[in-house]
């Protein structure tokens, strides 16, 4: 079941505690985002650290809710869908791998088991591991004994086990070397086609975005600076900021 994601005027403001001056402050993390991600598209979100990329992903599976505007999934208001059902359809791989205590197997079947699947769990675990290019020999291993690259793949396998329609990937290759990164990218591209997944892929790496994305949004300081075909973003940037960012000339400036 492919899904289309629509953002309409989405903003996010967070409260945080300023312990130096001991008071609560407001921080605008995302500002008035309007765009859509098509069915079975690999959509990349590019931006510097602190731009709000992770926050944007967290709005899609409702780990947080927007402060303004709304998000539609497959024509339905995200906030009106049962949140548990929504999250089963939206898999997420976090920036930092985090596991439940136990083995790889227990981690991979966590989702299906929650939702009442009792039979075929072993087969499912093997299929999901195979889908991310890992050997079934790893099933009995404890997650902390894996390499970081393997851990990130297990996280992906765990998300796939729920059979999602949307995949949120938050810098899934941030801890990998180049060859492992390229392998992971190929894997994701293949899965997206095979399983008809809509993929939101967050990255701060220009080269990676260029390899992975069909369309790319440049997000800086919570603003959508530009949204275009990925190639066009690099070859025909619409704004000066995009041109500078894509040329690697963008420097951290003080905004707002």
């Amino acid at each position: 079941m492919p899904m289309r994601i629509v953002f309409e005027g989405v903003g996010k403001t967070r409260k945080y505690y300023d312990s130096q001056n001991s008071l609560w402050r407001q921080q605008v993390v995302l500002r008035d985002l309007t765009f859509q991600v098509e069915d079975a598209e690999v959509f990349t979100i590019l931006g510097p650290s602190g731009a709000g990329k992770s926050t944007l992903l967290r709005l899609v599976n409702r780990l947080e809710d927007p402060s303004q505007g709304h998000i539609m999934l497959d024509g339905h208001l995200a906030s009106s869908i049962d949140v548990i059902a929504l999250r089963r359809d939206v898999g997420m791989v976090f920036q930092l791998p985090a596991f439940f205590p136990g083995t790889v197997r227990e981690n991979v079947i966590y989702g299906p088991k929650l939702h009442g699947t009792k039979t075929g769990l072993d087969g499912l675990a093997e299929t999901c591991l195979a889908a991310v290019g890992l050997s079934p020999d790893l099933l009995g291993r404890r997650t902390q004994d894996l390499s970081v690259g393997q851990q990130q793949r297990v996280c992906l396998a765990r998300a796939l086990a729920n059979g999602p329609a949307i995949l949120l990937l938050d810098e899934p290759t941030s801890a990998l070397d180049l060859s492992a990164t390229l392998a992971m990218e190929r894997l994701i591209a293949r899965l997206a086609v095979e399983r008809r997944l809509t993929v939101l892929f967050v990255s701060h790496d220009l080269e990676q975005v260029r390899r992975v994305g069909q369309r790319t949004m440049l997000l800086i300081d919570g603003h959508m600076v530009e949204l275009s075909e990925t190639e066009a973003l690099f070859t025909q940037p619409q704004s000066d900021l995009t041109r500078r960012f894509c040329a690697g000339l963008w420097k951290e400036e003080k905004h707002g």
């Binding site: 599976n61 409702r62 780990l63 947080e64 809710d65 949140v83 548990i84 059902a85 999250r87 089963r88 939206v90 898999g91 997420m92 976090f94 930092l96 985090a98 596991f99 439940f100 205590p101 966590y110 989702g111 929650l114 939702h115 996280c155 765990r158 998300a159 729920n162």
Partner: protein
């Protein structure tokens, strides 16, 4: 009474040591000594009074007040959580009254003030300490394991499913001191109630019997209380839409 005053020599030694060694504890020791004296004398007179009255409703009121004080003390460990006083009071009350009720129902203890009050006092004290530990641990586990909890939520777990490991860890940690006491009791440590009974002239075996009943009651009550407080409080760390909000 003369004995007690004579025993103050020990306090004087402690104060002198503190002065000489510059520990800066004199004030605290003196204040503590005074408070202990005043509080224990007051409770001694109160117990005398209540024992003589033979009125069970009064006993119940006293236990209720003790539970409220326990709830108030423990709830301080969960600053900024709404409803913490009510939750802590209910948890401690549940642990205390469930175990006490069972002991009475099984005919193990008689419904007399002289049994009920000290037993409940010890139970409430322990349940309070265990609840405080559980609250602190719950918060620190939720903070340090937020990634794991959110990973579970993202896979479609409800708040309580996602927090399962955190709750387990918190309750286990809270129970450790009591369970360890249970293991070493009699080997390294002589518990207060037993020591007191023996000093007061009871047969050692009678003292041991009472002590065992007490310990079993303490463990059951502390577990019921800390588990209930964890289950009740964990909901405050999530929104209705199963989103984690660590304050």
């Amino acid at each position: 009474m003369v004995d007690v005053v004579l025993a103050l020599v020990l306090v004087a030694i402690a104060v002198a040591l503190s002065r000489v060694k510059g520990l800066n504890l004199e004030r605290d020791i003196l204040l503590g000594t005074l408070r202990a004296f005043a509080q224990l004398m007051a409770i001694g007179y109160l117990l005398n009074f209540i024992f003589d009255l033979h009125r069970l409703e009064l006993v119940f009121v006293l236990l209720l007040i003790m539970v409220l004080i326990g709830g108030q003390t423990s709830s301080r460990r969960a600053k900024s959580l709404r409803g913490r006083f009510l939750i802590a009071t209910c948890a401690i009350g549940l642990g205390t009254f469930a175990t006490l009720g069972l002991l009475i129902g099984l005919g193990i203890i008689a419904t007399q003030p002289r049994y009920l009050i000290p037993l409940a006092g010890m139970t409430i004290g322990n349940a309070t300490r265990t609840c405080s530990l559980a609250l602190e641990r719950l918060r620190s586990e939720l903070t340090s394991r937020a990634g794991e909890v959110e990973a579970a939520l993202a896979l479609g777990a409800t708040s309580s499913q996602a927090a399962q490991h955190v709750i387990r860890a918190a309750v286990r940690a809270a129970m450790v001191p009591l369970v360890d006491t249970l293991k070493i009791v009699g080997l390294i440590q002589f518990p207060g109630a037993m020591t007191g009974m023996i000093l007061a002239g009871a047969q050692p075996l009678d003292a041991v019997k009472i002590q065992l009943i007490i310990m079993y009651m303490l463990v059951a009550a502390a577990l019921i209380a800390s588990l209930s407080i964890a289950l009740l409080v964990i909901r405050k760390y999530f929104t209705r839409d199963h989103q984690l909000v660590v304050l």
